[in-house]
Symmetry: C2
Subunit: 353 residues, 2 copies
């Protein structure tokens, strides 16, 4: 029997609460589909950092590299500065495993109240392809003149041709694969004097290899507005690390709740494990209450099965999510208008499979 070996990092806050729901959905799915699932738990988190001063052990990356994929909950907690917790775990995994594609669906699901007027499931359905290894997220820079009136901070974004071309190419390939030959690029070449004109020139160049794919380019400011005013018009949206980050929270916001959105950190060459996580964070404000919506984590598990080459399993999970959300008597968590807990909603989805 085929079996998959998964590294599980629940992380912090609600990460530890939603993860068990995803694992039990995966176990059920494996039974139904006839493959095996092996989970190895890693308790790397801000708690670990407070005890050891490290977010993961020195050989952490090599431990993870043994697995087929990584399922992550959420990282970060108020007791530890974000730039320590995230740059000690999430970001090194993305970078060292060359997970340069961050793929995030924006899809209005049935039974999720949409903040936009007159929208129904199917109306909003597109993909964000976010660069995930370089760009604005950089350690280059620092504070100068500390404590003097001329104090300040500098932050340098780096766009390599290598890094830019591979994400743009992925976006075009993905649009082709979806059969939706239309790619929208997020830019800001009128304000970011060097990086974005460069991004635009690479976009133009790469697009020539995909003559059948229609292209659009919008400055990030107006693009954000269009996500709200006309979300129907998008198919594949490609953006830098920062712009992709902003758009892939905004998109789920437009479809009602970021709690259900998943995020796939993909190494397309499959030389390294890819990592799957919900878009939401550790949510310290509701952690400990077991009222977090587990759907983001479960949908992430579905994207993982798709990546591992089990599209039927992936579909089964998605179908279960949609069926349960569509039922009038579904146990809903507070973010989608109910009073149910994480476990009840998780169990309802699992039982559907």
């Amino acid at each position: 029997m085929k079996s998959y070996d998964i590294a599980v990092i629940p992380g912090d806050g609600i990460g530890t609460e939603v993860m068990p729901e995803a694992l039990s959905v995966l176990e059920r799915t494996a039974d139904v589909c006839g493959f095996g699932m092996k989970f190895r738990n890693y308790d790397w988190s801000c708690e670990t950092w407070l005890k050891t001063g490290k977010m993961m052990p020195d050989d952490g990356m090599s431990q993870l590299s043994q697995h087929d994929s990584i399922l992550l909950g959420a990282v970060g907690f108020p007791s530890v500065p974000d730039h320590i917790s995230l740059w000690g775990l999430l970001i090194p995994i993305r970078r060292e495993f060359h997970q340069y594609v961050n793929l995030r669906p924006v899809r209005l699901l049935p039974g999720i109240p949409c903040p936009l007027a007159n929208k129904k499931p199917g109306d909003i359905d597109f993909w964000i392809v976010r660069e995930n290894c370089e760009g604005e997220y950089s350690q280059i820079g620092g504070v100068f003149g500390e404590g003097t009136p001329s104090e300040g901070a500098m932050q340098t974004a780096v766009f390599t041709r290598y890094g830019t071309d591979r994400i743009l190419r992925y976006a075009f390939e993905y649009a082709r694969k979806l059969g939706r030959p239309h790619v929208t690029s997020a830019t800001k070449s009128n304000g970011l004097f060097h990086s974005m004109p460069y991004w635009d020139s690479r976009f133009e160049d790469i697009s020539k290899d995909y003559p059948e794919v229609r292209t659009d380019q919008y400055h990030i400011d107006i693009l954000a507005a269009r996500f709200v005013m006309s979300p129907e018009r998008f198919d594949v949206v490609v953006g830098s690390n920062l712009f992709g980050d902003i758009l892939s929270d905004l998109g789920p916001g437009v479809t009602g709740t970021i709690a259900v959105a998943p995020s796939a950190n993909i190494n397309p060459e499959r030389k390294y494990p890819s990592m799957f996580e919900p878009v939401h964070g550790s949510a310290p404000d509701i952690a400990g209450q077991f009222i977090a919506n587990p759907i983001g984590q479960i949908w992430a598990a579905s994207m993982m099965m798709e990546h591992l080459g089990e599209p039927e399993a992936a579909k089964l999970i998605m179908k279960a999510i949609e069926t349960v959300l569509d039922r009038p008597d579904t146990p809903r968590t507070p973010d989608i208008g109910g009073t149910a807990g994480t476990r009840e909603l998780g169990a309802a989805i699992r039982d559907q499979i």
Copy 2:
């Protein structure tokens, strides 16, 4: 009789179409309120650049400095790269005149169809205070290794303490002045390793001088989502040049159309003229048809009168805009659901005064 001397730069595209409407509204308002208005037209634009290689003459800034305020239409046209047109006109004016505050209202007006469900005028009403002189918009950087496989681009953001503190302080003062003691800061300290932790530390420090003002901080990704999911919760939102730019297009998007939103580039010390413009751009796609909505430009004129110390005139203009929009028989431009032209909507507002 008191009289105001205004530099008028219609600029490109629809800038030249909406500007006459604002001027005629201003003239009428001056008559009614009993002050004088003197306009001096400057035809600086992309057309000028194509002829002369310059967006404005060498002594352009000194010409502008003679005026009480500047009213700008829109700059930029496809025939000229954005980073030439904007960095040759709009951005030098903002910087050299120390217009370090970019103040932009987000307000749902009557009679404007809102993309959000169940919102009525009054529900969405807050202010964005955007840093307008430094930050991510910088000329530091460039392309390296051009034409080689190791090619790339770098872009450095600069946050000085001088520049950061003055915008944060303005936001707190403005919240106080409005009687809405609540400031939300846009950050991204979990991804932008140096600049945003610095921004956050300045925000914390400055906030101590305003103990009665409630503060919130959100990462820009989730903040963008909250603009859609709960726009009622904001009073004053302060952000860097880039974050403020994104939020102040997104905000008007959430309230229906960016065509009506104004933007005030303010030098609070009044050592230099301030500049008032609509948020929208030159809109090459509809330029030449005289169907652009003139309200953004007219509202910008209202903000100008407020700044010049004529609050009654400012209110009169706003009242006219709202009254006209609220009328069932209003001549509506296409962006707000009608077939009328720029001039008809402009005339309707003028006649209301």
